[in-house]
């Protein structure tokens, strides 16, 4: 599907979709959205890029195997959950929050890092599955 229109469009769509996925990720704490949906949207961005420009180009763009994202994301989520246990002797997954809000982002807390972990894991899993299938096809 190497049409000129799709290729040109995908060059613009990739950054827009990625930005949108981050917006969805940050929005997720109180409103619909969150790490899972955000991660799916981000992987759609890369899949679209792969459709337009071929798998090789997307892999070059990513620079590392998407499977590597899985342990990284899991580690971030795990640490955000385990931090209260290890540092403050509070139960697992207890939410820790900063006192003052940061502009744009809002209040920072461990919940956000958990979601970021999910965001990365979902990208890693989806891209690994899709890349593997399209390689063997």
């Amino acid at each position: 599907m190497k049409t000129l229109i799709l290729r040109t469009a995908s060059n613009y769509l990739l950054p827009i979709l990625l930005l949108f996925s981050i917006f969805i990720l940050l929005r997720g704490h109180y409103l619909p959205g969150g790490g899972f949906v955000g991660g799916l949207i981000a992987s759609i961005a890369f899949v679209l890029h792969a459709f337009a420009n071929g798998l090789k180009d997307t892999k070059k763009l990513l620079k590392f195997h998407p499977g590597f994202l899985m342990p990284v994301g899991l580690a971030i989520s795990f640490l955000s959950g385990a931090l209260p246990v290890l540092v403050f002797d509070e139960p697992f997954m207890t939410g820790l929050w900063m006192h003052d809000a940061i502009p744009v982002l809002g209040k920072l807390g461990t919940a956000l890092f958990f979601d970021i972990g999910v965001y990365i894991v979902v990208q890693g899993v989806t891209l690994t599955i899709i890349f593997t299938i399209s390689e063997s096809a």
Partner: protein, 504 residues
């Protein structure tokens, strides 16, 4: 000591599997991490056990949400014991896998998935929330699907399909049961349910929910009419995987049955009778099924089913003596069954087959190894003073107390047939003059392994045999432990108070 000790065995397994994913391609590093990590896991579980033994039931409310709204993790004596046994079996199998599983299989994240499985098991034993229990069961079956299919041989896939189908069915039934129960009682916390369910007026629907739980967990623990997936799938994966499956996976089902029927659905004559019938039929069918098998691992698979019958029988009688026997048997069974499958793996690596027809001569050629393998067999049969003997005393005492002669007969029948099966296995595999088998070219024979690998192969078997011997010769301690667990199960108020202190 920290308050959160309860979560450490759980979190540590998760940490290990994430760490192992970072070393995806480096198998040798993975082996080291897995073995060292399993040692630390044993230490953490032992700490938890020590804490629970001395200071009573421990609870943690995850994320600080009060029960019954949040997810509670509870470690009473039963949970702590099972977590400790899981970590011991986990260490043994981790050591055993590093020598016995071929690198082609290890390459696809074997150790990482293996620790996910242990995470699921530990979580299932520790959780105090029935929906959370479902989630841990999912983690267990997802990782076991991967472990059972790694390698992708035809027989493996065939076994996996059967395993997958029935386990998914069990999960769906389990989930339906949770939905019904939640609709009735409006709570998912097991301690809260223990308070709410006896007060419910719609007894018929409560019974339906109970039967759904029984069917769901019955499939998972392989009781009489629902066991077909087990012998169809357990002989296909590598013996290290079969060891952890045989030792622990069915026992999680039994554990869940114990929890549900000692905590939520109590004193129901109808249910007790069903459990009794199931126990008797499980004992019969497992023993007879094992008798006709010519494959060592298939024979062992049927023995798992047969011995589940002992535990279900103990649960069905529900007296203190019966529960003591049941818990003792559970402790003994986890160690022995894990060991049995590792032994079948050793036989496979020596001879290249598990078919009794071609096996033989083992005693002639490997007298020391044969002697080592003889001890778990004795424990399994229950020759006094080995470990299988003591729980049967309690179980038989309980049947006599209740004048339940059918179950008594079934227990004696099951023990006797186990004896016959093992005696036949011994004469066929160890004493018979064996055939000279053609040497397989790319096969990893035990005789050709380096000394380090041989140690890795034998050490876990020696270790678990040692634990079995301790259970047999130190039966006094285990009996003490079992009777304490039994009294905790028999009177569930301590469990409820530990989870919800405001209910006093």
């Amino acid at each position: 000591m920290t308050q959160q000790l309860l979560l450490y065995p759980l979190l540590f397994q998760l940490f290990l599997s994430i760490l192992l994913m970072f070393f995806w391609t480096k198998i040798e590093t993975q082996k080291v991490i897995s073995i060292v990590g399993s040692c630390i896991a044993v230490f953490l579980s032992a700490l938890l056990f020590y804490e629970v033994w001395n200071f009573g039931t421990q609870t943690v409310q995850a994320a600080n949400w009060e029960a019954p709204y949040g997810i509670t993790f509870v470690a009473d004596t039963l949970s702590a014991t099972l977590v400790l046994l899981t970590s011991i079996a986990g260490l043994a199998v981790s050591l055993y896998s590093s020598a016995s599983v071929i690198p082609a299989r290890l390459r696809f994240g074997y150790f990482s998935i293996y620790h996910f499985l242990l995470l699921g098991l530990t979580g299932a034993f520790l959780t105090g929330d029935i929906f959370n229990l479902y989630v841990w069961f999912e983690i267990i079956i997802i990782s076991s699907f991967v472990l059972i299919t790694l390698g992708g041989e035809k027989a493996q896939i065939e076994g996996a399909v059967k395993y997958f189908t029935l386990n998914i069915l069990a999960s769906i039934i389990f989930l339906t049961a949770i939905a019904v129960l939640y609709g009735l009682a409006g709570s998912l916390n097991m301690a809260d349910l223990a308070v709410l369910v006896p007060q419910l007026e719609n007894r018929r629907l409560v019974e339906v929910a109970a039967i759904l739980f029984l069917v769901g967990f019955g499939i998972k623990s392989a009781v009489f009419p629902l066991y077909f997936w087990l012998p169809a799938s357990y002989h296909t994966p590598p013996s290290a995987v079969a060891a952890i499956f045989g030792g622990l996976l069915t026992k999680v089902g039994v554990y869940a049955l114990i929890r549900i029927f000692s905590l939520i659905f109590l004193k129901d004559v109808f249910l007790d009778e069903i459990l009794m019938v199931i126990a008797v039929l499980t004992l019969f069918s497992g023993a007879i099924g094992s008798l006709v098998q010519r494959n060592v691992r298939k024979a062992f698979s049927y023995l798992i089913i047969c011995h589940i019958g002992f535990m279900i029988g103990g649960l069905a009688m529900f007296t203190k003596v019966a529960l003591t026997g049941m818990v003792f048997y559970l402790i003994h069974d986890i160690m022995v069954k894990t060991n049995l499958f590792m032994i079948s793996g050793l036989i496979y690596r020596i001879k290249g087959t598990n078919n009794m027809k071609y096996l033989g001569d083992l005693y002639d050629k490997f007298p020391k190894l044969s002697f080592l393998m003889f001890i778990p067999f004795l424990s399994l049969i229950g020759v006094p003073p080995f470990s299988g003997f003591w729980p049967k005393i309690s179980l038989i005492l309980a049947t006599l107390e209740q004048k339940n002669y059918i179950l008594l007969g079934a227990i004696i029948f099951g023990s006797l047939l186990t004896l016959i099966i093992i005696a036949r296995l011994w004469s066929e595999v160890f004493w018979k003059k064996g055939e000279e088998l053609p040497v397989r070219k790319h096969f990893l024979y035990y005789q050709k392994m380096t000394n380090l690998k041989k140690v890795q192969f034998i050490a876990p078997i020696i270790m678990l045999t040692g634990v079995s011997l301790y259970i047999g010769f130190g039966a006094e301690h285990i009996q003490q432990l079992s009777s304490r667990i039994a009294s905790e199960l028999f009177d569930n108020t301590s469990y409820i108070e530990a989870v919800m202190p405001q209910n006093k």
